[in-house]
Symmetry: C2
Subunit: 295 residues, 2 copies
């Protein structure tokens, strides 16, 4: 039986799985993300023990995704210092010559959602995760977007909300970027505590929705995706969806005169269907496609 | 001899041409854009008289670009009222069954630049024209981006410059969008006259560059293109290129740690090579590809 290995490499945990060719999950292992020295041996052992025939990886980044590069599959300038410059894909393979592929965790997630999730059958989609950080994966013209590097949607520059007490945000790199104003730590800094304890009607969720709506509006204007999926811990606050939808439509103000925006935005900005395993399923698909290209 | 017809349909003029299969230009006709009743007969006659074997069109929009739509090739919600809802592609063909294709003028332009211009051989690029309006074409994963509609980069939301006397901008749809703050009319409103008479050192060009740099930074973060091409009348002020490059790098602040941005941005944000005929050459390519698909 052919077995496809999948890894979703996150900043706090590593999720490893083994799938059949058809996508049935056979095994799963979750490990905390420590240093490469501490975490890698178990991961290499897991895939070796299960004798996977191909490997797909969706990883936190930034990553070197240029197949022509000598450091293809390495993590590059991450703030997680032990992983900076780490040749993740090469070390995972441990010298085995099996088909393998890597993409960002969020690109893997959008791929999974297009193939078998909330964007199934669409030509284009964006998947954004809003949690301790903000990241986005983009699928267009039959593949995820890599380009110069890969999308880093989280750091899109946005306009501060007039009522935001901290309009610069908390990003060390950028004055008023999305992640600095709308990720979990920004919300916590704004309300001075754990936002999960606040009621749905708290004004901080209107401010939050304003930032996410700017992102959605700019995505519509630059990428024109057929659907936008919002996932991650912050989006588990369901009231945000309606607020983001309404503010996105208000910001676009009828300019993009498409029924998907003007009439049915509740079907346009939606939760992912595969959360929380979108990225893991995407990693399986990356491994599957690598396997299919080889045979 | 096979002949490919090409039309670049603009808001002020229509440029029609006939090319050989190999791309040699045989004829060109320029007409003012009046109403369909006034302008279309000459255009239909031109392509009919030259007996073109295929037709490619790059047009102002918004356009219906969904080949499955009954109104494929029509201009949709344009403010140019006589052209609103006009079935441009169908009327151009005048009942002839020849291969034909249509895309936005800026998508046609980016296609031309990728195939034989300033982005030759790259996997992804964005072409932005900054003139009386701002429009952008996007090429990624082997094709231009259409999606829900098509990119409308000009209306990306941006942060007002602190020294801008008119921070809302002049767009009737959006408070502080790019076109409302950085297109020709916005500059004229800001300086109270014709900006072409101002010296390079005038502070309005720093404000202008700040807006275009926000666009470039957000493009890097969302689309990660391998090159950004800036054309159009406003960009004929050459000093803007250095200002936009410097402010783009400053806004990204090292976060996108790619030599193309951090070391060689002068090769990353560049003028188009085919200006002012990028769109026309792109229209020829659209016609050529439609012809090649048919035979």
């Amino acid at each position: 039986m052919v077995k496809i290995g999948a890894l979703e490499a996150g900043g706090t945990k590593m999720v490893l799985a083994v799938y059949t060719l058809e996508g049935e999950e056979l095994e799963r292992l979750t490990l905390p993300t420590l240093t490469p020295q501490q975490t890698m041996p178990q991961m290499v052992d897991f895939f070796r023990a299960h004798a996977v025939d191909a490997l797909g990886v969706g990883s936190f980044g930034p990553l070197d995704l240029d197949p022509r590069s000598p450091t293809y599959g390495a993590i590059t300038s991450t703030p997680k210092l032990p992983w900076r410059g780490y040749p993740l894909l090469r070390e995972l393979l441990g010298g085995r010559d099996i088909p393998a592929a890597i993409d960002t965790d969020v690109n893997a997630a959008v791929l999974a959602e297009v193939v078998r999730g909330a964007a199934q059958g669409l030509d284009s989609a964006v998947y954004v995760t809003v949690g301790t950080g903000i990241g986005g994966g983009v699928y267009v013209n039959g593949a995820t977007v890599r380009g110069l590097m890969h999308p880093e949607l989280g750091h899109m520059l946005v306009k501060p909300h007039p009522d935001d007490p901290n309009p610069r945000g908390v990003c060390p790199y950028h004055a008023s970027c999305l992640e600095g104003l709308a990720a979990g730590p920004a919300i916590a800094a704004r309300v001075g505590g754990d936002a999960r304890e606040l009621p749905d009607g708290h004004p901080t969720f209107d401010i939050e929705a304003y930032y996410l709506a700017q992102m959605c509006a700019n995505l519509v204007l630059t990428l024109s995706p057929q659907r936008i999926l919002l996932g991650g811990g912050v989006m588990q606050r369901a009231v945000l969806f309606d607020k983001v939808r309404r503010q996105t439509a208000a910001l676009l103000n009828g300019y993009v005169n498409q029924p998907a925006i003007t009439e049915r935005i509740e079907d346009y900005i939606v939760p992912p269907a595969l959360f929380p395993v979108s990225g893991l399923v995407g990693a399986y698909l990356l491994g599957l496609y690598a396997y299919q290209r080889r045979v």
